[in-house]
């Protein structure tokens, strides 16, 4: 079924997926850039955002409330995780940080599995965005179109926080040189906590926004985490614009390859990552900085 409308519709799918990946990846990348910690529980955060939203939705029936609750809950979880565990790992080797966040991710997934079982849950899109929209030459699910817009707004918000606020300036300075920021009398550790919260919130927000597109299971974050890694490697670790560019590239590669044969989607994604690693080892928009 490779024809013009199908191709365009896959392009849109890729755009929606890419936008989501961009949002999740920017959460991962600003946490890594600022704190130097790669959060392997990030996929689980994404999943928990979906479930927190699902619970809120089943009690209130309001999608907006679900989005707010999902984001805030995951942000709180991120802050708690940073306060209780991660902050003890800033001065330990990268390997230990990877191990502990990996373990936490498994715990999160298993707790959710315990409460909600492995059965998939469904969050319907809000009434306003249900159905399909005619784009003239093809019909496309309204909600997916909306996802692109919603995520674009969220990314814009993240951009404003990062590039237009005092906090954002500190965060960007911290990415460059956190010791220097610390010695300027700014409490870097409080900033770290906030950044971890914001990064987690990005994942949680994406999780609930994505819930109406794909049904919720406890394992929904695992694949996303892998895709996020590829995005970050392609875009460059610690780079916010890189995460967006990488996200869009990865989203389109997955969607367009799936049109021909879904089995090759990851192969193509991996091929693209390899190509970037060979040609630009630090990612498309990454700089030669922290390893």
């Amino acid at each position: 079924m490779i024809n013009w409308p199908n191709f365009v519709s896959q392009l849109f799918n890729g755009l929606a997926l890419g936008a989501l990946l961009a949002l999740i990846s920017s959460g991962l990348t600003i946490i890594y850039g600022t704190l130097g910690v790669l959060n392997l529980a990030h996929g689980a955060m994404f999943m928990i955002g979906g479930y927190a939203g699902y619970v809120t939705y089943s009690y209130t029936g309001s999608f907006i409330l679900a989005v707010i609750a999902g984001s805030l809950f995951v942000m709180a979880l991120g802050v708690a995780m940073e306060r209780i565990i991660i902050r003890h790992f800033y001065h330990r080797p990268h390997e230990d940080q990877l191990l502990v966040t990996f373990g936490l991710g498994i715990c999160f997934v298993e707790i959710v599995r315990l409460i909600f079982t492995s059965q998939s849950q469904v969050v319907p899109p809000p009434a306003l965005l249900q159905g399909i929209t005619s784009l003239g030459f093809l019909f496309y699910p309204t909600y997916r179109l909306a996802v692109v817009g919603i995520v674009a707004v969220a990314l814009g918000g993240l951009f404003l926080i990062l590039y237009r606020t005092r906090l954002g300036m500190i965060v960007r300075a911290g990415i460059e040189d956190s010791v220097m920021v610390d010695s300027l009398g700014i409490n870097v550790y409080r900033v770290f906590m906030i950044v971890f919260g914001i990064g987690a919130m990005a994942a949680g927000f994406a999780g609930i926004i994505n819930a109406p597109v794909v049904s919720l299971t406890p394992g929904v974050g695992d694949d996303i985490l892998v895709e996020t890694f590829v995005v970050v490697v392609i875009g460059g670790v610690g780079s916010f614009p890189g995460a967006i560019l990488g996200g869009l590239i990865a989203g389109e590669i997955i969607s367009i390859t799936s049109m021909f044969n879904p089995g090759y989607a990851y192969v193509m994604l991996f091929a693209a990552m390899t190509l970037v690693l060979v040609l630009r080892p630090h990612g498309l928009l990454g700089t030669q900085g922290r390893e």
Binding site: Y32, L38, I85, H88, R92, H94, E95, D96, L98, L99, V100, F102, G103, L104, I106, C107, E110, I111, R113, L114, S118, D222, D223, L225, V226, F229, V230, V232, V233, V237, N261, P262, G263, Y264, A265, Y266, V267, L269, F270, M273, T274, L277, V278, P281, E291
Partner: protein, 618 residues
Amino acid sequence: MLKQRPYVIEFLTAAGLVVAPFVLPWLGFAPNTVNRILVWGLFGLGFDILFGFTGLLSFGQSAFYGTGGFVAAYLLTRAGFPYVVLALVIGMIAAAATGYLIGLIALRRTGIYFAMITVAIAEVFFFVEFNPLSDFTGGENGLPGVPTPSFNLGFTTLHFTTGWSLYQFLALCYFIGVVIALRIVRSPVGAVFSAIRDNPLRATAVGHNIHGYKLTAFVIAAAYAGFAGGLLGVLQAFMPPDAFTFDTSGQLVMQTAIGGRGTLFGPLVGAAVWLSLQDFLQAALGLGAAWKLVLGVVFVLLVCFLRRGIIGGLADLCDLLTGRRDAKEPEESEPEAIAVATEPHAAAAAAPAPARPRPEGSPSGPILQAKGLTKRYGGLLANSDIDFTVNHGELRGIIGPNGAGKSTFFKMLTCEVHPTSGTILFDGRDITGMNVTDVCQLGLTKSYQVNQLFAGLTVRENLVIAALSGLRGKFKLDLFRSIDSIPGLSERVQHTLELVNLTSRPDTPVSELAYGEKRRLEIGLALATSPSLLLLDEPLAGMSPRERVETVKLLKSISQGRTMIIIDHDMDALFELAERVTVLQEGRVLVEGTPEEIKNNSTVQEAYLGGVHGVLAA
């Protein structure tokens, strides 16, 4: 703990494996559980070499486990290949070859990048197994009917079928795996592995091609994984597709961390804990699916509080109980400190400066010639058009105010950074654009301004790593050679220990050394590569006045028969040591001459007293 008397560990392993079938049933272990533990343990041997010894944390080992397993299982089922062991070996080779290709990509980056890339690779293999290659791998059905091994010995045929019968075969495989792993860990390659884990930058600088060694560790881990994957198929009489899942990689990582990384037996212990807890929680407590949560919590707690895993924790407990660590260290270090303070340095006393005798017939003329050396960082000109020549046997000093570009200049000479323009000739050879490893192999190395030691190792192990590069070249695959059998190694290490006055503490871990001792070891690391030209970047930095006196003596004794260039801010010390001094200022050579000339040079005085700017302003 791996360096005790020869063959003790091998013997204990063999004894343990022989005794296990008689003891473990009493502890409630089913034979099938023990066999699974052995397969995980073998899988983990290679992974521990990669992660525990070389410091490369891969989350993608399932790719090689699955590859080896499916190649062997395919040969034994669909292809009708009759020889089980040979099929396992072919599977192992296939996994190793895959590991080589993947390693070429994944090892382009280190740290978290490496971890992320390996995750992505594992996921790709999983999808490839399920879709494009499902005709060969059976897709989600896997490959059933994998036979168990049997050996025809002529007079009788040995069959290893299930349970304790198959255990014998698996135990033999595990034992061979342990013997090989121990050989690798104790070989020179193993020493370089731990150097890479502790300080890759310095491992490169003392002349080891660390990329080659990392790739070696990666291939070794892949080979172990491939063989273990084949055994999994034999054990279950079925090659399950979930061997390829990310969960497999994750479980391996967690088991290794639980058992204790860098111990070789950690993965086995971790697997035993993991599998028995899983059985216990599921069967005895009826927790059902929650077992994984319990194990996850256990794992997180272990990573938080018991960094070195169960084996490491037990070792610490042993030390604590026997009181070995606490009792021994202070006794050892105190007389040494007195010795440093009081004993005059024999070699230095014998050779009064500055007239250093030069051996007859040694080469003369320039050893190093830099022409028009310029380094530009964006708009900043760090070094500009430096011409610099040092002759054989010379002891040259470089001084200059902060920011004069001294360290950048050294970095260019050792090829850590490449000049924007200009050329460097070392021993008549153009080394511009070479890498730091090759330059070290040619005989040019430096000691660092900020200590770059292998912090997790002892003084002797540090020097061994540096000495190995000179004796073995930058890359050599002598995986099965004992490190003690390398001719000249122990002599060179002993000689270096004497030169830097650390003979009393060869087996002290670097982390327990005093600052002055670390500083001397830093110089020792450079010396142990036996350079023909030695650069010292601020060897006196951060030392107390007394330590300075000692170190100056030390430098004098080292300089016998060597060519050295020393950067330092301590001008008194430098004027006492050096025959000629070059003054750098604002990235240029200001003046060059004997210490006397420099002392009396008015431009130098102005540079240091800020007079130049005063004159310009006036």
